[in-house]
Symmetry: C2
Subunit: 151 residues, 2 copies
């Protein structure tokens, strides 16, 4: 099954996301969430609340692209984010610096950076579930041994 | 956090597996499950039941190794498995060939190959959950937005 075949892969039902949707969402988060928010914390602290993050922006932004396009774009953006992060020269004592989330209230730089990690792990988990469910019937009697199919 | 730091990463509670355990289990499956069973189906069909697979073999086999050792070994074994698979010259009509699972009864070669995929996706999902839960408290108020932490 080539990469192109995953473009239209079914999601987990209404209001859930396909791998294509997820990668678009990760792209938008690189552009609008993690590093931009980290910079707001370092520069403005609690004085300036983050811009609200649009969890659905990718439905418009990804239109007309292939999953391969999105993966390439994500790979490039992640590289840029890591360079930006390194360039911020964060020291451990800065992880307690406080920022203002528009809904959650006070958060710290450490919370934000940990959330970046957990957020992306969560979406990896989501993508593997969606792909696994594509084989729901193909596994035959082994279905009973594969808890990912009922998660 | 370097790779070595994950060696002893907590699992998800009693009788659950750490990433170290999971990679050891994937190694044992490459050695004793997927390709060996595919060959039994092609050569013997239902006449010869598979050897039961030991889901806990890695607790002994992985002893004394690092996570890095295990990942290197898995990478090499997976490459060998894919070469073996290619060498079997399977054609689509062979996917219906039947074999005998010691507990599940009759299965097909297609079921087995699909299960290989879903099994490994399931364990990727497990590893990302375990790593994510390591940051359970570190994410602060974002915990509420991260469903992987309560899966």
């Amino acid at each position: 099954m080539g990469l192109a075949a995953w473009d239209g892969l079914a999601n987990e039902g209404p209001e859930s996301w396909s791998p294509f949707d997820v990668v678009g969402h990760l792209i938008h988060a690189e552009e609008a969430d993690w590093i931009p928010r980290a910079k707001i914390i370092v520069e403005y602290g609690e004085e300036r609340a983050f811009e609200p993050f649009d969890r659905f922006a990718m439905f418009e932004k990804s239109r007309g692209q292939s999953l391969g396009d999105l993966l390439d774009r994500f790979e490039w953006l992640r590289g840029e984010s890591l360079k930006d992060l390194e360039g911020m020269n964060l020291r451990p004592e800065m992880l307690g610096q406080r920022g203002m989330h528009p809904d959650l209230g006070v958060v710290t730089l450490g919370h934000l950076l940990s959330t970046w990690v957990v957020h992306d792990l969560g979406h990896i988990g989501q993508v593997v579930r969606v792909i696994a469910k594509h084989y729901d019937e193909a596994v035959g009697p082994w279905q009973a041994y594969l808890p990912i199919l009922s998660r």
